[in-house]
């Protein structure tokens, strides 16, 4: 089963990269394809280590896992660049939210590392990856919230990229959390959950990135004589008054 998943993964990764070359997508989505390439090289390296020196596999596995995890942050940059950059307001909002989240997580991690009891090396590695996945989840979640709140259109390529990566990150977080809580005896869950979800993600990427589908550009802005400050101020005044009256109506 595991071998089938690994072979399917390598095949899909190769197809994604070949298709990107054919469609000239490498330059358009440089961060994403850097990640895809790092995953392919990592998988090939791990397969080789497994055949030649199986005893070294766990060490290599976690190293490759962390390298690809760091490359995975590039997908978040890709989302910001491709989806949010045509909307400076929403991008600014997302950036502030992201910085705030990271600052909060950093403070939490500093406090937690001082308070938390010591853990074994194996347990530490699992918990560390889980925490990094948590950061990715929160950042991805905040990006999705901004995209949804501002009604920003997402094209087929980017939608596939987000859904595929989000599926993998979400599943990884859940299985890592369960494993960190329950211990090594639940390693079977890890052995299957992550490769299965990743194979599904690869299939999603292959379909979504089969050909170039640019992200919809923002529509032409209607002529507004007011600037942002005035518009926000007036809207706020309106909704505050409406809310006050509605609450009065309900209370009376």
């Amino acid at each position: 089963m595991e071998t089938v998943l690994v072979c399917a993964g390598i095949l899909l990764e190769c197809m994604i990269l070949v298709r990107a070359l054919q469609q000239r997508l490498l330059a358009r989505y440089a961060y994403f394809y850097s990640y895809a390439l790092s995953v392919l090289l990592g998988t090939l390296l791990l397969s080789a280590v497994r055949m030649i020196r199986p005893s070294l596999y766990p060490t290599y596995y976690w190293s490759v896992q962390f390298v690809t995890l760091l490359f995975g942050y590039g997908i978040l940059l890709e989302i910001i660049q491709q989806v949010l950059s045509p909307y400076p307001g929403a991008e600014r909002f997302a950036r502030r939210t992201g910085v705030g989240l990271l600052a909060g997580i950093l403070c939490f991690a500093l406090v937690y590392s001082r308070l938390a009891p010591g853990a074994s090396h194996g347990q530490f590695v699992v918990e560390f990856e889980r925490d990094l996945r948590t950061v990715q989840t929160l950042l991805l979640f905040s990006l999705l919230a901004v995209i949804s709140y501002y009604g920003i259109p997402v094209g087929r390529n980017m939608k596939g990229m987000i859904v595929g990566y989000g599926l993998y990150v979400g599943t990884s977080l859940i299985s890592l959390a369960v494993r960190a809580y329950a211990g090594a005896w639940l390693a079977t869950l890890w052995v299957f959950a992550q490769p299965i979800s990743f194979t599904i993600s690869l299939a999603i990427w292959l379909v979504a990135l089969w050909s170039y589908a640019p992200n919809p550009a923002p529509g032409p802005a209607a002529d507004l004589e007011e600037d942002y400050g005035t518009m926000a101020h007036r809207t706020r005044a309106m909704i505050n008054l409406m809310r006050t009256h509605l609450f009065k109506s309900v209370r009376s």
Partner: protein, 192 residues
């Protein structure tokens, strides 16, 4: 255990939001279209949903008293049920119009490079509270009926009249300049 629940919830939330993203249908983008929708929503609020006469008629106690004194109990019950449906429909449409206005606002705000994080956050909370108030109004009408609270009718009417006056001034930015007249995409008629 609490830690595990937190991580599981976070993962589940992400997967749920991905599901909604995957299901999201593309919305027609365009300044003129958005402007037409917002103006229709404002117009619906001002002339269709919030005028004093309409709100007074929906919640008119005289109608209830007349039906109660002249019609048999089944007709009285039917009247109450139908009036409740009308009141509920009114509340829902007010909410829908506010949602349209919010969409319009966000459609514009997302393009401003000078967008202020704090203002946006406060506006998001304000909109959420207003929409929540509309939901509460719907619930009150649903559970207690349009005639349950006598003073509610009067204050709703007063509120409606005041809201009309306020929205007209507050949403002045929705009035396009004389040179830019929006054209209705379906009929081709001028909206400005």
């Amino acid at each position: 255990m609490i830690q595990l629940i937190f991580f599981l919830l976070l993962g589940a939330l992400l997967l749920a939001s991905l599901f909604f993203l995957a299901r999201r249908r593309p919305r027609i983008e365009g300044g003129a279209q958005a402007m037409v929708e917002a103006r229709q929503a404002l117009s619906a609020l001002q002339s269709g949903l919030l005028p004093r006469e309409l709100v007074e008629r929906i919640f008119a106690r005289e109608d209830l008293e007349y039906v109660a004194s002249h019609a048999p109990p089944p007709v009285h019950k039917l009247f109450l049920d139908e009036r409740k449906q009308v009141a509920l429909s009114w509340a829902r449409q007010v909410r829908a119009a506010i949602l349209h206005l919010r969409r319009f606002y966000l459609g514009k705000a997302r393009l401003y490079a000078g967008l202020e994080f704090r203002t946006e956050l406060e506006l998001a909370i304000d909109f959420a509270l207003l929409l929540f108030a509309c939901r509460v109004l719907e619930l009150v009408v649903y559970w207690r009926g349009p005639y349950a609270a006598g003073r509610m009718v009067g204050s709703t009417t007063l509120a409606a009249a005041r809201i009309c006056a306020i929205t007209e001034q507050a949403l002045a930015f929705l009035n396009p300049p004389a040179s830019a007249v929006a054209v209705h995409p379906m009929t081709g008629s001028q909206e400005g």
